[in-house]
């Protein structure tokens, strides 16, 4: 039986410091995060870079580690009370959502991440001299050949051979672009011009060069092999997915996370299609992104000729069988499972018959409609900088400038739930323990990371609490305990008892 598809999403945001001659993106990213930490949090708690640790699970808590952890201090790196990590990565502000138990919850946390960035940007701009401005974009490319990621993470069963995961998930990743793409004007692949690729389905396909590999910044692979489970490595893998776009459309974020969770659960259960391997995966990935009319035919390794939608239908049919047998418990339950299947089905049907009907829910189609209209009105070539500007502004998080938020995209999340998710953790994963501890005992926590927390209760040594089970440390497990313990010393005493 598949393991529960605990999932999360990490987004590197584009950052621009306007009217500042020597703008340094690392300093600008630090300003963004510091503005949030100093403006909205009681106290900053740093990130702990200690590696995974064998130990008891987050609910047992009966064996504390007495090693002094290494606390990183040189780059801004904060843990938030909603369980998220907010930090400077390379030269971008990055936010990793807390671990979630379903796609709907994670979509709410992704939207909360946007809120956090907007608040950070507004706070930082209050502190800047007149005329200067920090601007944040939720996109993946600057249009000049530089890309930054929006990565998804899914918990998978360690006992499934990694080679099988690679073979069975790759055709899905290549073909899912048709409903996951955020759209982009032009191409950044070497040698291609606006006349070759005026507009494409994804922001990222141009940057992928390998089928499988460990890299994320060069020679990016369709399936990334980073093996850092941030959980019990004997039981779990964390599949680190780098082949996706940051979506402005909540419908797409929801579908991307939810359908991928279903596909990975099918792979855990050995029920995914295994006859869809593309003959030339990287080439097909790009061709599909460049094919906005969805007409190209691709050769599979078995000789069959198929479209991207054919491959999606094969996964859809397999998912129906998988769900008939196994239900939807591991992706968040029946309601969400059925909703995801219905939406996946409807999107594939609409892509086949009337793609424009998706202009309220799929970024690349919303963009295409808008840009075609704009081109017609002003009689512009695709290479006109005004279209490139529109394509940046679609992702602009400034409320008075961002285009995506004014074109009537359908919502999935609820405003009051997003507001709650800015400060509060999901109740259903270990993020609950992390977030509530930070809220309750900020002065007694030295550092936190995905699978442990380090407390300083005034007696040497520092005490590390391991949290190796993503589904332990939930509100149901520790909610009352946290309510009852007035300080961390009491919490540790009762956990260890």
């Amino acid at each position: 039986m598949a393991v529960h598809k605990v999932l999360g999403i990490e987004t590197e945001f584009g950052i621009l410091h306007r009217n500042e001659g020597d703008s340094n993106p690392v300093a600008a990213s630090s300003m963004i995060i510091n503005a949030y930490v100093n403006g909205f949090l009681e106290r900053r708690v740093g990130w702990d870079f200690e590696d995974e640790h064998p130990g008891v699970d987050a609910r047992g808590f009966n064996e504390f580690d007495a090693l002094a952890p290494e606390i990183e201090t040189h780059l801004v790196n904060a843990v938030l009370t909603n369980g998220a990590r907010y930090y400077v990565d390379h030269a971008h502000p990055e936010l990793s959502t807390p671990e979630c138990t379903d796609a709907l919850q994670c979509t709410t946390y992704d939207r909360a991440a946007e809120e956090i960035l907007i608040r950070s940007m507004e706070k930082a701009n209050e502190l800047l001299p007149d005329g200067e401005e920090l601007v944040i974009h939720k996109n993946n490319s600057d249009g000049k050949g530089n890309s930054y990621g929006c990565h998804e993470n899914y918990l998978v069963d360690r006992s499934v051979p990694f080679g099988r995961i690679v073979n069975e998930v790759m055709p899905y990743f290549i073909s899912r672009q048709v409903f996951c793409g955020a759209g982009k004007v032009g191409s950044e692949a070497p040698g291609l011009t606006h006349s070759d690729v005026p507009f494409q389905i994804t922001q990222r396909a141009d940057f992928f060069e390998e089928e499988v590999g460990l890299e994320t910044t060069l020679k990016r692979p369709i399936v990334n092999t980073r093996d850092e489970p941030h959980a019990d490595s004997k039981k779990y893998r964390r599949l680190h997915v780098i082949v996706g776009d940051a979506n402005m459309s909540e419908v797409q974020t929801y579908l991307k996370l939810g359908v991928t969770a279903i596909v990975l659960a099918m792979i855990d259960d050995n029920m995914a299609p295994n006859d869809c391997a593309f003959e030339t995966s990287v080439q097909s990935l790009r061709q599909i992104s460049y094919d906005i009319d969805l007409v190209t035919v691709h050769r599979l390794a078995n000789g069959e000729k198929v479209s991207a939608l054919d491959v999606q239908w094969a996964y859809y049919a397999a998912a129906e069988k998988w769900a008939d047998r196994n239900g939807f418990d591991v992706v968040g339950g029946r309601d969400i499972g059925l909703d995801l299947m219905q939406r996946w089905h409807d999107v594939l049907v609409a892509l086949e018959n009337d793609p424009d009907s998706l202009s309220d829910s799929i970024d690349w189609i919303a963009k295409r409609r808008l840009y075609e209209g704009y081109r017609e009105r002003h009689e512009l070539e695709w290479s006109d900088p005004r279209l490139a500007a529109l394509d940046l502004q679609y992702h602009d998080l400034r409320p008075d400038k961002g285009l995506a938020r004014r074109i009537g995209l359908r919502r999935i999340s609820d405003d009051s739930e997003v507001e709650a998710a800015v400060d509060n953790p999901p109740p259903s994963t270990r993020a609950y323990f992390r977030g509530r501890c930070l809220e309750r005992y900020p002065d007694e926590i030295v550092a936190a990371n995905w699978d442990s927390m380090v407390f300083d209760i005034g007696t040497d040594p520092l005490r590390r609490v391991p949290m190796l089970e993503p589904l332990r440390g939930t509100a149901a497990h520790v909610g009352n305990l946290l309510d009852e313990c007035a300080n961390a010393a009491e919490l540790l005493r009762r956990l260890g008892a």
Binding site: D89, D142, K144, N146, C276, A317, H345, N353, L392
Partner: protein, 63 residues
């Protein structure tokens, strides 16, 4: 990939559905008006110096 053929036959195709011409005409007009409003709005909010904005938008690679 035999299963997908069966699945796809069950999916309704728009060319099977005969729409009243006036209806599609009206829907089309509404969509166009909506897009026109959007484009008006975009003319208002687009960065005043689009070319400069695009030129200055340089990011470091990430991940």
């Amino acid at each position: 990939m035999a299963e997908q053929e069966q699945r796809r036959r069950s999916a309704p195709r728009t060319d099977d559905v005969e729409l009243d011409e006036t209806e599609t005409g009206q829907a089309g007009e509404e969509l166009k008006a909506e897009l026109d409003d959007l484009l008006d709005e975009i003319d208002d909010v687009l960065e005043t110096n689009a070319e400069e904005f695009v030129k200055n938008y340089v990011q470091k690679g990430g991940e």
